[in-house]
Structures are given as C-alpha cells and as structure tokens.
Symmetry: C2
DNA sequence: CACATACGATACGGATCCGTTCCGTATCGT
DNA sequence: ACGATACGGAACGGATCCGTATCGTATGTG
C-alpha cells in the first residue's frame, strides 16, 4: 500500500537517513489543508510541500503521488474506539451514537465531507472508509446483541437496520447539517430514546 | 441570481436571438458530466462546452462563471414532490422515505455525493440545498402531524428528530453506501416500521 | 439590402499544478 | 576524510484550465 519505508527496519543504510520530522510535517500539512476546506482534488502537492516547509522532491521520495499520500494521511484519522461501559444498553448506545463521525482528531469532522465524493469513486478510498467504520459498527452490533440477550431489546430486532437508524441521523447532521433545527449536542440521546421506544401510540 | 435573460420577455432585440438549443445543451452537458462522476471543481467550462457542442464564448455570454452555471443547472434537479395518498400514515411515510435522494432525474442520485463538500463551503449552495429539501421536509412533517392528530402517533413525538430518524438511514445508504449489508429496496419499509414500533422489548 | 447580434471555432496570455532534475548543503556509516 | 543519501529550494517542460478576443458564418429586424 504505502511507499513509506523510511522508518521501517533497515539495518543498513549507506547515506543520510530520512527525516522523521519531514514525514510528520507532510502528513500534518495534508490533514490541515483538508480540514481547512480543501477538497481532495483541489489539494496540490505544491501546497502541501509549502505548508510542511518541505521540498516537493522530499514528498515524491516517499510517496508515488497524491493518492498514496492521501491514503496514508487518512489512516491517521482512524482514532480510538469508544469504550462502552457495559452497564446500561441505552447509555452505551448514546455513547456510540455520539461518537459517530467523531474522533480524537478534531479535524476529522471537517475532513469527512470532503471525502464523500472520493469514497464513491475510488475503491481504495471506499475500502479505507469501510476499514475505519466497520470496527465501530461491530461495537454497536455487540451492544445491540447484548441488549437482546438481556431481554432489553426485542429478539426479532434487525441489527443492520437498527444500526443505520442510530447512525444515519447523526451522520447527516454532522456531515450535511441536514436540518438547522436539530441540536447536535442532545441528538444522540434523543435518537437512542426514539429508536428504543418507537413513535406509535399505545 | 442567474444571468439568463435569453428567453425572457424582450420585445425588441436587434440582432440574432440566442439559441434555446444552446441553453438546453449547456445545462444538460453540465448535469451529464456531474453524473458521470466529475466533482464540482474538476468540472471545467471547456469540457462542458465540448460536450455541449458549443463554443466557450456561448457559455460566457450567458453565465458569469462556473458557479452561476452550476447553480442554474442544479436547480433543474429539484424534481417534483411525491404525493402521499393520505390513507395510511405508515404507507405515506414509506413513500416519503423511499423518495429521499430520489428525483425524476436519475442523474440526481449520482450527483448528490459530489455536492456534499460544496454544500459545506458555499452559502449559495447550502441555500440551494435547503431550498430543495425543505418542501420535502415540510411534507413529511405534515404527515407526522396528521399521525398525531389521528392518534396513530404519540402526541409528544419530536417531529424534527423523527424526520432525521426516517431520512438519515436512507441518505447515508444512498449517498455513502454506508453498509454493504443493507438492501436499498426494502429499506424504507424497514426503517418506517422500526421507527414506528421501536426496538425495546415489551 | 443593411445592420445587429449570436453562433462554433480557434487562439491567446496568464495562472496553476504535475513530476523531474539539478543545485549547494546537511547528516549518516565506514 | 569519504561516499552515499537526504535535505530545502529553485527551475524546468508539459499539461490543463481560465476568461477574453477575434475569426468567418448564420439568423434575426427594419
């Protein structure tokens, strides 16, 4: 995948080793520019190099081109998985729903919309996207299954649809600002409660 | 907004009138290129002109630049509102949920993802987006309110959250292909039923 | 017919970016 | 010290696109 072998195990290297600072600066510059609103194709190697305080050659020495660099940079955004407490199904779901589109890196939320077109066009990017979200999906699936086992949720609950039900509202609001009338802060709670109780009168 | 005055009421026009075919061809070429996967900024006036079989000057005679042309072209995608039958609340919701991200123009579904970054960056585009979806939101809101009036839905239902609950899953699946395990065809039904009944055991 | 304007086509100068190549310098192993 | 490699910086040829201008031609009005 990556052409980055600069930091790998290389017992012998005749000349000057590659700068770790440069590696870091290039990746950081890439993410910064994306977070500032640059779309993927508006992003230029020259801009990245300037922002990183690095020569273009230094970038091309490490990556084959923009795509390879981008894949490496985006991997950095994966972040850590949230940790459900395991006591209350509802609270665990609220935690997971609140974590949708959230990461340790605050730039992630701003970068995500810029990737939507790419995800649909490039199989590599789609794969990367699925790699990032599938552990989170798995986590939510386990909480739901636990809910069924504990008898809190109905046994015939469709897990995949339920996950889309929990994730969708959060995602369209964070990525699209779908409705100006929704409060992003308490949305996770409201979504989870609505999904749990349903809206049919009874 | 638009510089298109070619077809407007112009009682006197000394020279040769503007070609209506050119107007149409330019708009169609723009939508075609977007539907084929070109993102907004990858879209070039030159490509549009070539595709439309038109000189660049013919485009610049009508629009000030790419942005103005795009706004006019996207307005074409608005499509017609779905018409709820008004009998069953559930069936009306299934219809509306199924219409999320759907239009008379089949290109709309492919174009939408390309617009996500622009919607977050350009106030004009965000406004256009809201103008397109707000009538549909209103329609759904009315159906939900009818449900409350008829006693089918609980009186304390939060309409805005419910609409996000119904729309979100459809949108992330159509735009992002969020989960490979979801069937887009019966998703509207499943979503509506899940939202109606909830998943809590009782 | 004369006139005004639009048409498609082509060319232009300017800008941006690509990926490569070359500087002179810096930093490693031997 | 020396060879090897990396560094930041600068320049390159080629490509694409912008927005404008200018062809000769087509199509309207009076």
């Amino acid at each position: 995948m990556s052409d980055m072998r600069s930091t790998a195990d290389a017992p012998r290297s005749p000349g000057r080793p590659r700068s770790l600072r440069a590696d870091e600066a290039i990746i950081e510059a890439t993410l910064d520019l994306l977070a500032e609103g640059s779309t993927i194709e508006a992003l230029s190697i020259e801009a990245i190099a300037t922002r990183a305080g690095v020569g273009k050659a230094t970038i091309y020495r490490r990556w084959a081109g923009k795509d390879a660099l981008l894949l490496d940079a985006l991997r950095r955004l994966k972040g850590v998985l949230p940790q459900p407490a395991g006591h209350s199904i509802r609270d665990d779901l609220v935690l997971l729903v609140g974590a949708v589109g959230q990461n340790v890196d605050p730039r992630a939320a701003k970068i995500m919309p810029c990737l939507v077109p790419a995800v649909n066009r490039s199989p590599d990017q789609y794969q990367l996207y699925q790699n990032i979200i599938s552990p989170r999906r798995q986590l939510m699936r386990e909480v739901l299954r636990r809910g069924i086992d504990e008898g809190v949720l109905r046994a015939d609950t469709d897990l995949e649809v339920t996950m889309a039900l929990l994730t969708g509202p959060m995602l369209i609001q964070r990525v699209l600002q779908w409705s100006p009338d929704l409060n992003e802060v308490n949305l996770p709670e409201r979504v989870v409660d609505a999904v749990l109780e349903g809206i049919r009168a009874r």
